[in-house]
């Protein structure tokens, strides 16, 4: 009985909190302009799916945004996970004062935001201002701290026996890292990777400062430029179509790895 009340309550909360916003975005993305301006929740009378899609792809530069988002997010996350876990291994297994200082330096970014304006200055000095590479470098430096922080704690909780055994068997440090440590780290790197996907793919603020020109705009930038291009009122159908298409890649990925993501984030590292 009590549990029935609980689920009724949860459903009543979930409807305005999650279901309605998503429904509103999707149905209005499929309507022609006049109909969508009413922001109603009814199904379209006239379907304008292909028209809206056309406009978003052509005027909204959707495909350029998608390409740039992939070109930045995928390598940045791969580099963060690789270099971050290598460093975390070193930080977890040594007592050296220098490495401890380096650990604190590297994990400052868990809470502190990157200093955006000096980053532009620095990138300008080395000729990377406004480029995807410059943006990726600042992103990597700003986000690697979280992975180092999570992974160092995780490695500390692992027994050293396996690594010792590998080195007795003659494995070098790189082989030990590659064949012993990395497989053990999979659960925590999955958690880190998920958080990175969400934050790097969706980043708008830093992209706004660090990327210049339509050619290098990521999806959030193309969405913002597209929505801001209408002067007075937003064309809800087109803005929502862009919102749907911008959010789609992550949602599709999520549908595939949903179970592992949720259990990874709740059970953490215990299983995997």
């Amino acid at each position: 009985m009590a549990s029935r009340i609980k689920y009724v309550g949860l459903t009543l909360f979930a409807i305005p909190w999650v279901v309605l916003p998503l429904w509103m975005v999707i149905v209005n993305a499929l309507k022609p302009l006049g109909e969508a301006q009413a922001l109603s929740l009814s199904l379209p009378h006239t379907w304008a799916f292909t028209d809206n899609l056309d406009t978003v792809v052509n005027d909204g530069h959707y495909l350029i945004g998608l390409r740039n988002s992939v070109l930045i997010t995928v390598p940045a996350i791969a580099i963060i996970l690789l270099l971050g876990s290598m460093a975390a291994w070193a930080f977890a297994r040594t007592q050296s004062r220098w490495l401890r200082a380096a650990y604190y330096l590297s994990t400052l970014s868990v809470l502190l935001p990157p200093a955006i304006i000096p980053s532009i200055y620095l990138l300008r000095e080395i000729g990377l201002d406004g480029t995807r590479l410059g943006y990726a470098l600042v992103t990597i430096a700003a986000r690697i701290g979280l992975v180092i922080f999570l992974t160092t704690g995780f490695v500390r909780a692992l027994p050293e026996d396996l690594e010792d055994a590998a080195s007795i068997d003659g494995a070098g440090p790189w082989q030990t890292y590659r064949h012993v440590l990395l497989p053990l780290l999979r659960p925590i790197l999955l958690v880190g990777g998920v958080i990175l996907m969400i934050t790097v793919w969706n980043d708008f603020f830093f992209a706004l400062f660090l990327l210049q020109g339509e050619g290098s705009a990521t999806l959030p930038l193309t969405l913002f430029q597209f929505a801001s291009s209408t002067v007075d009122t937003l064309s809800w159908n087109l803005v929502f179509m862009h919102v749907v298409l911008t959010s789609l890649p992550l949602i599709v990925v999520y549908l595939f790895v949903q179970r592992r993501v949720l259990s990874g984030l709740t059970e953490g590292a215990v299983k995997g």
Binding site: Y7, A38, L39, W98, F204
Partner: protein, 318 residues
């Protein structure tokens, strides 16, 4: 460092962590050469952080006190002029106040909603998993897109007012994002919407880490559900709570992405947080004042989140 907080918060094997750190003395390394490679494993990450994170951070402390602008090539030291100008133009203190209020609203919304959801969805049953996964969807949506979605939801002719008009007598047509009194809590609610699915999972992980024996013992001793919640679960949840409060606070103090598409700082300056003001200064080529505002964000995070984490961790131990 707060590493145990997080291993616990994410449900990592805390027991092992304690044992490993209690081992007397560092272990002898087996191979004589072993140890020399450590710096090389740490180096690439450390160099990247030093050049592209730490260096800009130090430079920021300089730029905040400089007259750097888009109008001249030279950058000179000008003391606290930037802050003085921002204060004179009535930008600085209102932005600080707005940012702190935004953070306050977001903390209350995000922590309240997530904690309730976590307590309701703690057990891993099939139906709970469906709900968890539903509440996680907003986490995947970019804060910018979330801003546009809720700009539609909260519009005066939008679905929220439609629902309220249906439930309440009369017609509700409040422009939630256009009204000076509701705009700030409304944008903070959108930010909370975007993050609460993730925060919920951290709480669930924290709840799972509470030993069952402890709750059973309390039950045998006659503690009712209410006492068990306040005296045991909430206290044992402290690490997850600390982590969530600190991260939420940091996110809120940096607020920009949700505000830009919804209110762009308005009406008036009622939602002009420090980063919104910073972007405006930057847009006008006042790079010095922009740096000063950006430095203020960093300082606010340091003076609020860091003592908070230390204070809450102290409470955890007791």
């Amino acid at each position: 460092m707060a590493s145990t907080t997080l291993t616990q918060a994410t449900g990592a094997p805390e027991q092992t962590a304690v044992r490993a750190s209690e081992q007397p003395g560092p272990r002898r390394r087996k191979s004589p050469r072993a140890g020399g490679h450590w710096p090389f494993f740490a180096l690439p990450a450390v160099v990247l952080v030093a050049v592209f994170f730490a260096l800009p951070f130090l430079l920021n402390a300089g730029f905040a006190f400089s007259d750097w602008s888009g109008f001249s090539e030279e950058i000179g030291f000008n003391g606290v002029d930037n802050f003085r100008t921002l204060i004179d133009q009535e930008i600085f203190w209102p932005a600080v106040r707005t940012t702190l209020m935004y953070a306050g609203f977001m903390l209350v919304f995000a922590i309240g909603i997530s904690l309730s959801l976590a307590l309701l969805l703690e057990q891993t049953t099939r139906i709970n998993t469906i709900f968890r996964s539903l509440f996680f969807v907003p986490v995947l949506i970019s804060p910018l897109a979330a801003g546009y979605i809720w700009k539609g939801m909260l519009a005066s002719n939008g679905p929220i007012n439609g629902m309220l008009s249906f439930l309440l007598p009369g017609t509700v047509d409040t422009a939630w994002l256009g009204d000076p009194t509701t705009a700030l809590p409304a944008v903070a609610l959108i930010e909370a919407w975007k993050w609460s699915g993730l925060i919920t999972l951290v709480y669930i992980a924290g709840l799972k880490a509470i030993p069952k024996e402890m709750l059973e013992a309390a039950m045998i001793d006659g503690a009712n559900a209410w006492t068990r919640f306040w005296r045991i679960r909430l206290r044992m949840l402290a690490p997850a709570l600390t982590f969530n409060v600190a991260v939420t606070l940091a996110i809120a103090l940096m607020a920009y992405d949700v505000i830009a598409p919804t209110t762009a700082g308005g009406p008036g300056d009622h939602t002009t947080t420090l980063n919104i003001a910073m972007r405006l200064q930057w847009g006008q080529s006042f790079f010095g004042p922009a740096s000063a505002l950006s430095l203020t964000v960093a300082v606010l995070i340091v003076v609020s989140a860091v003592p908070l984490v230390m204070w809450m961790r102290k409470k955890e131990v007791n």
